[in-house]
Symmetry: C2
Subunit: 599 residues, 2 copies
C-alpha cells in the first residue's frame, strides 16, 4: 500500500507542477462540511491511505503531512507507516496548525491550491489572513485530485423520503416560520443553508447519500417568503414533489446553486454559516453583495428535541438496547465455543439491529476492537485484517442504529475472560465517571465544560486522560454526531459554548486507551431535563435512554464509593426492568445475573 | 436615614437640573477602578445609604435605582428600605443591565452625566455604543456629587514604603524588563498603568491610601526606556526617591497625568487596560493618538507567585491560621460565660492578628455574622447594631491579614450551641465541596469553570446554590481579591477565562446562605502546583495554605462518602501537626479534640 500511496502523491505533484500550485490542501469533507462523506469525496484517504474520519493532508513538492486528532493517533501511525507522510498530532505540544505550518513553509508569492468546494469558509478565511503577508495566491476553483484519481466513484445520488409529522413532531412550514423569525431578529433577508442535517431537519426529509447518515446532498435558500431547494434530479421523488408544493418550496438542480446566487436579482443580506458553507460558495456571496457569517438558526432548534421526537427516541432506545443486550449474551455464551472474530461479532450485532423493527440502517460502522485494538478510538476491523476473539481480555463494541424514531449510539466493553487488576481499575474508573455524569444535578446555564470533570475526574485522579470529548449531541434520524451541545473540558479562547437546554440529547462516554494494551469505553445517551426551579434558579438533570448492563466482571467495588455503587445498582435495576419484555427466558436468566446488585 | 438619603438625592437632582443632566450615574470606584475605595470616593454610599462594596446608583428626575450583585441582595434590601431607591438584582431574570435600563428610559437627545474619572473605559464605551442611536450627550468632566457632599473627606495621602527583594523575590528593574518584553510582543510603545495593585507589584512598593489595601493612588507610564510614576507629593518618602533613582523611575505629581499624556511629544502606541483605566484618561489618549486596549501584562505576572513569595506565604499562613485557631478556642471556651457580641468577637480576633509578628493590617474588615446575619455574604456588624452571641446556633467569621510576607483570607463557621439537622446537612455539604476542590487533580489547561462543580456540586445535589463564585485570587501583601484566576461556574459569552498556572493562589469558599435563618461558609486558600507530567499532559493539584479546624460539631458523617471523610481526617491531621508549635497546652488539648478523626 505504501508504494501505491507514494505513486499517487507523485501523480498529484505532477498535476500541481502543471497547474503552478506549490502547496495543495486535501481536507476530509464533502461540499457541505459533513463529518462523514461518501466515497466520491474520499480524496484524502485515496491520497494518503489514512482511513480515519478526520484528517487533512498537505502536499508540497518536498513534503506531505497529515493532521488528525487524538482519536486517530495510533491508527494513523499504523496506516501512514512507509508512505513518507508525516503525522501531525493536532493539539499536542509543539505541533503547528495547518495555517502555522503553511506560514512557516511557504515562500513569498507561492501558490496555495485546494478545492474551494470542500474547504469551509472559516478555514479559507483563516488561510487568507495568515498568509496575507506572504502574498500567497489562492487557486480554489479546481479539484486537482480529479486528474489523479482515475476510477473515482460518481457523486452519490439516492431518492429522498419525506417524514410524517407523527415522526417529526413539527411540520416543515412551521419550522421555516421559526427560522424566518430568527432571520428577522438577525436583520438578514435570506439564509443560505449548506449543512445537510440541518436541511433534512428543516424540511422533514431524509436522504441516503452518505453511509449511515440519512442526508441528501442539497442546498436551500430561504427568504421571508420563498424557499429554493437545490437537489439532484435523480433524488427527487413524487413524494418530495408533493411535499415541496404543499410547503411552498421551489425545487432546483443541485448544480445550479452557484449560478442562482450569482444571478439572483434581489438585493439581499444573506446569512450563511462560515463553518459549514464552502469557501467557494462564500466567495460567490462575497462578490455578489452583502453577506453575514452567523450560526444557522436551525442548529439550536434541531438540537433541542421536541416532545414527539423524545417519546419516539425513548421507544427506539429500548429496542436498540435490547439488541445490544442480546448480542452480549450471545457473545458471552459462545466465546471459546465457536469461532468469532472482531468482524463476525460486529456482523452478529449489526444483523440483530437491522432485524429490529423500524431500523433503517446503522448510524455508523460498528467499531469492534479486541484487546489492544480497542485502544484505537475509532478502529474499524476488516475481514482481511482482524483479530479472533478468545476467552480472555476485553472486546470494545461501539455501535448504533438509524430508526424511524431516532438515532442511537452505545458502547460497551465486554469481558471475554481473565483480565488484569489494572484493567479492572480502569474499567471501574470509567464506569464511575459515566455514572457521575449521568447523575449530575446542575443549574441552567451550564455548558459541557462545567460538567466534564464529573466523567473525567476519576481518570484524572489516576493521572490519566482520554484525548477526546466526553460527549456529543446525537441527531434525530440524522447524524450520530450533532452540535452545538457537547461535554468537553478544554478551554478554547473565543470559541462559544452551548448552554445545555432541556430536550438536548448528549452522549456520555469516558474511556481509557492504553496503546498496545487495552481500550475501555462505556457510553450511554442522555437527555437533559428541567428539575426543580427555585430562588436559586432552574435546576437540571439527565435522563438516560440507554439500558445495557455495564460488565460486572470488570468492576471492582473496592474502587467505588457507596454512592457510586448505589448509582450502578440503580442503573442495573432499571436495565433489568426495562429490558425484561425483550428478553427470552435464557437471556433473562443471564441479564438478572449481569445486573445483580453489588455491594 | 431614609429621610437623609431622600434629601441628598433631591440636592443631587437640583445640581443635575442646573447642569442640564437628565440621568446621572454613580458607580463605586476610585480613579483606578479599585474594588475597595477610600472614604473620599464613597459617593454612592453617601447618596444611597447602601454600604456594600459593589453597587451603581442611577438617578434621574423621577427615579433612582441601585444595581448590586448576589452577595448583597439581602443587605441592600435592608439598607435601601424607605429611601425610595429601587434595588436592581444583577443577573436575576428580567433585570436589565444599566445600559439596557438607560437605553429604555432615556429620551432622544437627553444628557447623561457621570464623573469620567470613576467610570472605567469599558463601561464608558458600552454606554457610548448602546446610547448612540438615542443621540445621548455625555457629560463626563464633572463630579456633580462634589457640590452635594459638603463635609466630604479629602483625597487620601499616606507615605509609601519600599519592599525589600527578600520579601518580593524579584526586583522592580527585572519586573519592568519583563513588562517591556510583553510590550514589544504586543507591538506597543508604552503602557499606561492605572491599576493600583499592579503598580505596587511592578515597582515593589506599598501604600496606605485604601483601608486594608496597601496601595498608593498613582499612575505609571512605562516605555521601552523610561518610567514615569505619578504620585502625590505627600506620599513620596526619601526611601521612594532613592528606589526610584536606582531603578530609573522619574517621579511626577499625581495630578499631572492627564496633562502629561496630552503633551507628551513622542508618537507612541499606548497600551491601556480598558477595564481599569478611567474613561476620562481614555478620552485623553484617544484624542491624542493611537492607543490599544489590552490586558495589563502585569496582571498575569502578579498572579503567579514566585518561589520567594510562596515560601513567605507558607510561613505567614501558619501564623495567621494560628491566630484563627486561638480565636475559635477562646470563643468556644467563653461563650455563655462572658458577654460577647459579633463586634467584640471580631475585635478579639483582630487583636490576635494585629499582635502577630509581621502583621501590617487586616486585609479586609472582619465579617462576623451571627445566626441569620451570616446569610448576608458581606455583612459588617457595627457596635451600634450587632447581635449578642449566645450558646446556640453558629457564627460565621471571614477575616484576613496583611503581613510582610503575604495576604491572608480565611472563613470558618463556628458552632456556639445546638444547631438543627438541616444546618448540619448544609454545613457538611459545604465542607465536602471545599474538600473536593482542595483535592482536585486536573490537567493543565483547566480554568476555574472546569473545577467549580467540585465545590458547588454537593449543594446542587440539594437543589441549592450560592450566588457568587467559589474562589478568587489573593494578592501578595496586596488586595485580597485579585485576578485573573478564579473559580466560577457561569458561562459568559465572549469573556475570557484564566488558565490555572502553577503558582497561582486562589480561595476555595463554597457556602450556604438562607435568608433569615443561617449562613455557612468554609474558606481556605490554596496554591496550584504541577504534579505528574506524562503522555496525557501536565497534571496539577492544589496545596492548601490555611490550617484551621472545620467545626466537627456541625459535621454529620452520614452525609459523607468514605473518601470525603478521609479527606477531612487528613486535613485535620495536618492542622493538628502544623498548629501544634503555636498552641498553648490548653489550646492544644482543645485542638486535638477539634481535629479528632471521625469515621
Amino acid at each position: 500500500m505504501d508504494q501505491v500511496i507514494r505513486q499517487r502523491l507523485e501523480a498529484l505533484r505532477k498535476v500541481m507542477e502543471k497547474e503552478g500550485v506549490d502547496y495543495y490542501i486535501v481536507p476530509t469533507a464533502d461540499f457541505h462540511n459533513s463529518e462523514y462523506v461518501d466515497d466520491y469525496f474520499k480524496v484524502r484517504q485515496f491520497l494518503s491511505g489514512f482511513t480515519g474520519s478526520n484528517g487533512t493532508l498537505v502536499v508540497s513538492g518536498k513534503e506531505a503531512c497529515l493532521w488528525t486528532d487524538g482519536r486517530y493517533f495510533i491508527q494513523a501511525e499504523n496506516e501512514l507507516a512507509g508512505s513518507g507522510i508525516e503525522l501531525m498530532r493536532m493539539q499536542e505540544e509543539g505541533v503547528p496548525t495547518i495555517e502555522q505550518y503553511l506560514k512557516e513553509h511557504m515562500e513569498k508569492g507561492e501558490t496555495l491550491g485546494f478545492d474551494g468546494r470542500v474547504v469551509d469558509t472559516a478555514f479559507g478565511c483563516r488561510l487568507e489572513k495568515e498568509l496575507a503577508e506572504k502574498e500567497i495566491r489562492f487557486r480554489y476553483e479546481k479539484d486537482l485530485a480529479d486528474e489523479v484519481w482515475e476510477d473515482r466513484p460518481g457523486l452519490p445520488c439516492h431518492p429522498v423520503m419525506v417524514l410524517d409529522e407523527a415522526v417529526c413532531g413539527k411540520g416543515a412550514v412551521e419550522k421555516m416560520a421559526d427560522v424566518r423569525r430568527e432571520l428577522s431578529a438577525k436583520k438578514a433577508d435570506a439564509l443560505l443553508l449548506s449543512k445537510l442535517d440541518d436541511l433534512m431537519w428543516l424540511l422533514n426529509i431524509r436522504g441516503a447519500d452518505v453511509e449511515c447518515n440519512p442526508v441528501a446532498l442539497s442546498y436551500a435558500y430561504l427568504t421571508g417568503t420563498e424557499c429554493f431547494y437545490f437537489i439532484q434530479e435523480g433524488e427527487v421523488t413524487r413524494e418530495l414533489r408533493e411535499h415541496a408544493a404543499s410547503c411552498g418550496i421551489t425545487l432546483k438542480g443541485y448544480g445550479e446553486v452557484t449560478d442562482f446566487l450569482r444571478e439572483r436579482g434581489e438585493k439581499e443580506r444573506v446569512l450563511y454559516d462560515g463553518k459549514n458553507t464552502s469557501y467557494a460558495l462564500y466567495r460567490t456571496l462575497r462578490e455578489k453583495g452583502e453577506c453575514v457569517d452567523g450560526k444557522n438558526p436551525t442548529e439550536l432548534m434541531k438540537a433541542v428535541k421536541n416532545p414527539v421526537e423524545l417519546a419516539n427516541m425513548e421507544k427506539v432506545y429500548l429496542k436498540d438496547s435490547a439488541a445490544v443486550c442480546k448480542f452480549i449474551y450471545w457473545l458471552k455464551s459462545n466465546i471459546g465455543k465457536i469461532p468469532i472474530t472482531e468482524v463476525t461479532a460486529a456482523q452478529y450485532l449489526d444483523d440483530l439491529r437491522r432485524n429490529t423493527e423500524g431500523c433503517l440502517d446503522l448510524s455508523f460502522p460498528t467499531i469492534s476492537g479486541y484487546r489492544e485494538n480497542a485502544a484505537m478510538m475509532h478502529y474499524e476491523a476488516t475481514p482481511e485484517c482482524c483479530k479472533t476473539l478468545e476467552p480472555d481480555g476485553m472486546l470494545l463494541v461501539d455501535s448504533g442504529g438509524q430508526y424511524l424514531g431516532g438515532t442511537t449510539d452505545v458502547t460497551r466493553t465486554i469481558v471475554l475472560g481473565p483480565i488484569s487488576q489494572e484493567m479492572k481499575r480502569h474499567f471501574t474508573a470509567v464506569a464511575v465517571g459515566m455514572l457521575q455524569l449521568s447523575n449530575a444535578r446542575f443549574l441552567y446555564g451550564c455548558t459541557g465544560r462545567n460538567l466534564d470533570i464529573l466523567a473525567r475526574g476519576p481518570l484524572w485522579n489516576l493521572d490519566m486522560d482520554y484525548k477526546c470529548g466526553t460527549g456529543h449531541g446525537v441527531g434525530y434520524i440524522l447524524n450520530v454526531h450533532e452540535g452545538p451541545q457537547g461535554i468537553r473540558w478544554r478551554y478554547m479562547e473565543g470559541i462559544g459554548e452551548a448552554v445545555i437546554e432541556a430536550g438536548m440529547d448528549v452522549t456520555n462516554e469516558p474511556g481509557v486507551y492504553i496503546e498496545g494494551s487495552h481500550g475501555i469505553r462505556t457510553e450511554n445517551v442522555m437527555v437533559a431535563k428541567n428539575g426543580t426551579k427555585n430562588g436559586d434558579g432552574q435546576f437540571m438533570y439527565f435522563d438516560t435512554l440507554t439500558f445495557v448492563p455495564i460488565d460486572l466482571d470488570a468492576i471492582d467495588p473496592a474502587y467505588m464509593e457507596p454512592s457510586q455503587i448505589a448509582m450502578l445498582n440503580r442503573y442495573h435495576a432499571e436495565v433489568r426492568e426495562k429490558m425484561a419484555p425483550f428478553m427470552t427466558a435464557e437471556e433473562m436468566e443471564w441479564l438478572k445475573d449481569a445486573t445483580r446488585e453489588i455491594g
